[in-house]
Amino acid sequence: MPLETVLIIDDEPQIRRAVRHAFEDDRIRVVEAANGRDGVDRAAAERPDLIILDLGLPDLAGIEVCREIRKWSDAPIVVLSARDSDDEKVALLDAGADDYVTKPFSTPELKARARAVHRRVPRGASIETRLAIGDIVMDLAARVITRQGEPVHLTPIEWELCRVLMSHAGKTLTHRQLFREVWTGRAFGDAQQYLRVYVGNLRRKLETDPVRPKYIRTEPGVGYRFATHGEVESSS
């Protein structure tokens, strides 16, 4: 499904214009909404392929808009946020947003993020048994993971972590989301603080250079994002 219609919900006309310019260059239709209520209505009426949502709306909190839309739409949502509002970003991602871009953002970055979340495996699609991104191939049925064709040994937790990250490639997963998926049924708390340590160890097994990761990207204060196939290709 190609990216055809983008909805931008922002009360600042200049930002709306900047976003419109960025996407119209690629012949993508941009629908504008200046407040949260209008944004929810437009999302219902226009059925956009992607929604860009600003956090500082005058009428509704961004998280309300996000929850409202998520009740009936799976369209990817990219949040525009101010710097230093990590808690807000995390809350939005937990509420169903797919990614975020920090203001002042660069338009190529916004477009790249938008395309990445749009290309992602859609929600509710049939579960794939094979995940392949860059040199990493995960065969879920055979429970084998290879890097450049060589098998990699993962502990059970690392395996789950890798599976969740790879199956959501392109989407920023918050620490809470990752924890829920990996440690199913466990309370969010003590073990959660070791999540970063598990990710660190996983990186050492998957990445050529763990401090310059190609696959598992850190979104400081928010969570982790597994790079899309396109990102890995362009970075190598």
Partner: protein, 496 residues
């Protein structure tokens, strides 16, 4: 000085005459002892009531009356029985001594009472002085009290910090040396060798006395009179006591001013922080627009638009720094101490600075293969510290010199050092580089930030239980060392 109260004397004359008349009426039945005792009683009573003078006069008159009226032969001053002389002389001596003793007692009582009054007066004066709602009023009241008590033309109390309007040029000298000084009627100046005015009294018309709190001269007491100032013992004591009050008064004025000053500064500070926060926030939106538009133009091949974009980024960093500073001071900087692998910290830093370094190499060295190095720190804030250090290194280094980022483990600390081959920091400035708004003396006008980076970085490091230090680098350049607490994960490594 003996004041004679004639009415008093008149009363005692009448009492004496009546007593003598009564004695005369029963003279035949009296013994000499009766007369002597009764007269002694009168002498004592007169001494108590009217003082030594009256006592002695009553004793003298009683002596004569005794002789004339009650010692035979009556009506003459001659005495028949020589033993009567003994009676008379003894009477006179006892009367005199009694009058003297009563006098001494009275004097002591009076002195004690006066002392009590003095103490009461000083105490109430002190209380009044300290109780004045405004310190300046209290000081004025104190000066007025000294002026009226010592009968001066003028009395001024000056604070050392505010000598500007003084009429006499020796005032600053007194404030500086802490020694007393005087000006004589002919205009000449005399200086004392101590803070006490005693050696200057007698011919000074102006006295200048230092007001000292401990070793510090906090003010000068200026006494001006039309006549040479002569102070008796009591007035000198009074003056000495009031000098202490004057010290307290001057100190109070100073403290009051300081308090007002601090309050004003705090209010200004709050306003400044609020303005900073509002301005930085409102700058974000136009910056986003400028950047987006410039990038759109740059994509079409306009090189000037690229510059606009880069500058917008720089402006954004500056705004972010200012916002951080205002938040940091408001205590609104959330610090989350969590377990974080050093790989992740270094990785995030490399990602952040990639766009800034251009063609410059950043050499990273990590501990040799081993278990994951994990620390307990705030990831986001630690990234900021290191990004700031790398940016600084980039800014001050020659273009072809690589920057080094080394990570080592030292006991319970993770030690991260950023090394450059820049000019380093002169020893005289090493203590100041972590102060807000510090910029090197020779910094280029467009050198970048507002001079907040290192101040914020150090604050962030210390808030996380770490340190940030500067060291000169061997062979030239700077070495900034960030230490963060490491975490032990033995139990976790086993479970992996």
């Amino acid at each position: 000085m003996i004041r004679i109260r004639w009415s008093h004397w008149g009363i005692w004359l009448v009492v004496f005459v009546l007593t003598t008349a009564a004695l005369l009426a029963v003279r035949s039945r009296l013994d000499k002892a009766h007369v002597a005792l009764l007269y002694l009683l009168l002498v004592l009573a007169a001494s108590v009531a009217g003082g030594r003078g009256l006592g002695l006069v009553v004793a003298g008159v009683a002596f004569l009356a005794f002789n004339w009226l009650f010692l035979e032969p009556y009506g003459t001053f001659t005495i028949a029985d020589p033993l009567d002389w003994l009676v008379l002389v003894t009477f006179l001596v006892v009367g005199g001594v009694a009058a003297q003793i009563v006098h001494l007692l009275r004097a002591e009582t009076a002195e004690a009472r006066q002392r009590t009054e003095e103490v009461d007066r000083l105490a109430s004066l002190g209380a009044r002085t300290l109780a004045h709602p405004r310190a300046a009023d209290a000081l004025a009241a104190l000066a007025d009290m000294i002026r009226s008590t010592l009968s001066l033309r003028e009395c001024r109390i000056r604070a050392t910090t505010d000598l500007g309007a003084s009429t006499d040029e020796i005032v600053p000298w007194v404030a500086q040396t802490g020694l007393a000084a005087a000006r004589l009627a002919d205009g000449t100046v005399r200086l004392a060798e101590s803070a006490d005015p005693d050696s200057l009294l007698g011919d000074a018309v102006t006295l200048l006395l230092p007001l000292s709190a401990g070793d510090t001269v906090v003010g000068v007491l200026e006494l001006v009179s039309d006549r040479p100032i002569a102070l008796d013992q009591k007035r000198r004591q009074f003056l000495a006591a009031l000098r202490y009050y004057a010290v307290l008064g001057v100190e109070r004025v100073r403290l009051e001013a300081e308090t007002a000053n601090v309050a004003a500064l705090q209010a200004a500070d709050r306003l400044k922080d609020a303005v900073l926060a509002a301005v930085s926030h409102d700058l974000r939106t136009p910056l986003t627009t400028i950047k987006a538009m410039a990038e759109a133009l740059a994509a079409d091949g306009d090189e000037r638009a690229e510059t606009i974009s880069v500058e917008a980024d720089r402006l954004n960093r500056l705004v972010a720094d200012l916002l951080d500073l205002s938040r940091l001071r408001a205590g609104g900087f959330p610090i989350r101490l969590e377990l974080n692998p050093v790989d992740e910290l270094v990785g995030a830093v490399l990602q952040r600075v990639a766009g800034i370094l251009g063609g410059r190499r950043l050499v990273v060295s990590l501990p040799a293969d081993g278990p994951l190095v994990v620390g307990r720190f705030d990831l986001g804030q630690s990234i900021r510290i290191l990004v700031n250090l790398v940016e600084n290194a980039h800014k001050y280094s020659p273009p072809d010199a690589p920057i080094e980022l080394t990570v080592t483990v030292d006991g319970g600390d993770i030690v991260m050092a950023v090394l450059d081959r820049g000019p380093g920091v002169p020893e005289s400035e090493q203590g100041r580089i972590f102060e807000p708004f510090y910029r090197p003396a020779d910094a280029l006008p467009d050198g970048g930030g507002a001079g907040l980076g290192l101040a914020i970085a150090r604050w962030l490091a210390e808030t996380q239980g770490g340190t940030l230090r500067y060291e000169p680098r061997a062979g030239g350049g700077s070495r900034f060392v960030l230490r963060l607490p490491a975490a032990r994960l033995d139990h976790l490594q086993e479970s992996l």
